[in-house]
Amino acid sequence: MSTEKTFKLDGKSIPFQDGDTIMDAALRAGEYIPHLCHNPEFAPHGSCRVCIVDVNGRHMSACTLPAAEGLEVDNSSERIMEQRRNILQMLFVEGNHVCPGCEKSGACQLQAVAYYTRMLSPHYTHFFPKRSVDASHPDIAIDFNRCILCELCVRASRDVDKKNVFSITGRGLESRLVINSASGKLGNSALSASDKAVSVCPVGAILPKHVGYDQPIGDRLYDNKPISVVGDVASANNQQENAND
């Protein structure tokens, strides 16, 4: 008789190990919970709130909630999907996300999760914040208009690349991503194109130069298949790198 511990996700039994979050166990079982700031290679961050689920009547982020025996998790009701849509709509109006003018379009996780939740409009009033683009680095550009403050680049640069190129500064609405270099510019930071930090950005904020439209619009990761089937931007980049090795 197995003594496997389980919880229920949309009625399905999901096995878990001690120390797992709801997200860890779901990912291992091949169940998709929408997410942006989560990447299984890094410690959970819990900032984007897109992985919101209903757990025994309470709304929690799946990436930070420890799995426990007997939990009933709702990951797909219209009520949960609507909340996710609202969160995504806020992310869209808070920055400047001009999909027709973005070279990441079609392979952008923000866009893909919005498609998955059937978001048809931004609903809220746009902030149209004034943000800059930093193209001072020969191989990498950063467009702050599109940054959703997921801190994946911060975590990757600090924990994997050991370079600490990125930080978040300010609080609340004033929060923004900054570059740790003497001039504050990417060009004289320690970042290099092969850094983990360059491949983890879920949106079109950190972009490798010179490859923008190598893959045509229409053939991109999320153009024909949903993110629940093809997975995250970062894992697609990993596979790409392994294929190139």
Partner: protein
Amino acid sequence: MTEMTDNTVNESGEKQKPRIATAALCGCFGCHMSFLDIDERILQLVELVEFDRSPITDIKEVGPCDIGLIEGGVANAENVEVLRDFRRHCKILVAVGACAVNGGVPAMRNQFELKECLVEAYINGIGVENPQIPDDPEIPLLLDKVHPVHEVVKIDYFLPGCPPSADTLWTFLNEILAGEEITFPYSLIHYD
């Protein structure tokens, strides 16, 4: 959800077709071109609907309509006027395409002061002769910022895409004319 009311019979007892009006505000006309991409299905459409004001009919004033399709965002005083006129006359108003839905590419000028944009285009622009900022009273005044249409009037439905594909427009029109719930398969939801 807004529904079309049943007034399909006129005084003399004839069946009346639903009326559709379309307008292009601050867009590139791509959404109207995509609409024409429904190709020969337009013959089916004219069986189902009557066109009111639209660049397709060249009727200049919008009358009472069932459905209004708006392409483009709101960038000048005339856009505001046309949009409000459409809202007054159309039972169902639809934002069609990226510019109507979120301002789109024209809203990238919101990063700059209006004056900077005018100076860049008309004073310092490459190849400009006799530099001057146009000020003819017939030219609609530009707004400080470009806005999505839902920031100016109430919008009932949104069709994203730059442009929304002909199939997206066709699916929407068929569903709404049949009184069905508006749903799209994954392949028809795009922001680019």
